[in-house]
Amino acid sequence: DAGVTQSPTHLIKTRGQQVTLRCSPKSGHDTVSWYQQALGQGPQFIFQYYEEEERQRGNFPDRFSGHQFPNYSSELNVNALLLGDSALYLCASRGRQGGPKGYTFGSGTRLTVV
């Protein structure tokens, strides 16, 4: 039973560039959420996808966008990268109904903007 898979694990980008991060949810999960975790901080909610639509969004600018595919996998896109976008980006999945209440997190993508 595969857990949440994220790629790439590490990434270095230059200010102003664009980046795409990918996530495959745990088998049986259909809801995917993305979080940004700055060093020494708790994860901050970016947005949630279910049935290929963005259902909820946190306090992040429009430079952050996403997508969910029919197989429930998801992408996070960040445009016009800023130095402050450097962080660990976590994908979390859960099932819509029943099962454990907690989210299953992937190992994350460490993004460094230089």
């Binding site: 809801t31 901080q41 708790g42 994860p43 909610f45 907690g102 997190f105």
Partner: protein
């Protein structure tokens, strides 16, 4: 919006000592979840508390939800080096389809 505050920010203990982290809110919480993140790792779900005054145990870990549902605690008895990591409380905001509002976490280090 709702938020949760955690104290202490850091805790250094000798192996075998007990450890407690506290999670507080100014408003009533519908639920609270606890996660553990090992150094260099990702958050791993530990437990969810929903009922007022609820107490749940997992081996050496004891989780409590306050009677007023405004605070929660995680207590570890006789810490081991494997307990090292950051412990986060998180509010599952927005019902069953909600998302998590995390506290800033308590970083636990254990000296052997």
């Amino acid at each position: 919006g709702q938020q949760v505050m955690q104290i202490p920010q850091y805790q250094h203990v000798q192996e075998g000592e007990d450890f407690t982290t506290y999670c507080n809110s100014s408003t009533t919480l519908s639920n609270i979840q606890w996660y553990k993140q090992r150094p260099g790792g990702h958050p791993v779900f530990l437990i969810q508390l929903v009922k007022s005054g609820e107490v749940k145990k997992q081996k050496r870990l004891t989780f409590q939800f306050g009677e007023a549902k405004k605070n929660s605690s995680l207590h570890i008895t006789a810490t081991q080096t494997t307990d090292v990591g950051t412990y986060f409380c998180a509010l599952n905001y927005g019902g069953s389809q909600g998302n998590l509002i995390f506290g800033k976490g308590t970083k636990l280090s254990v000296k052997p």
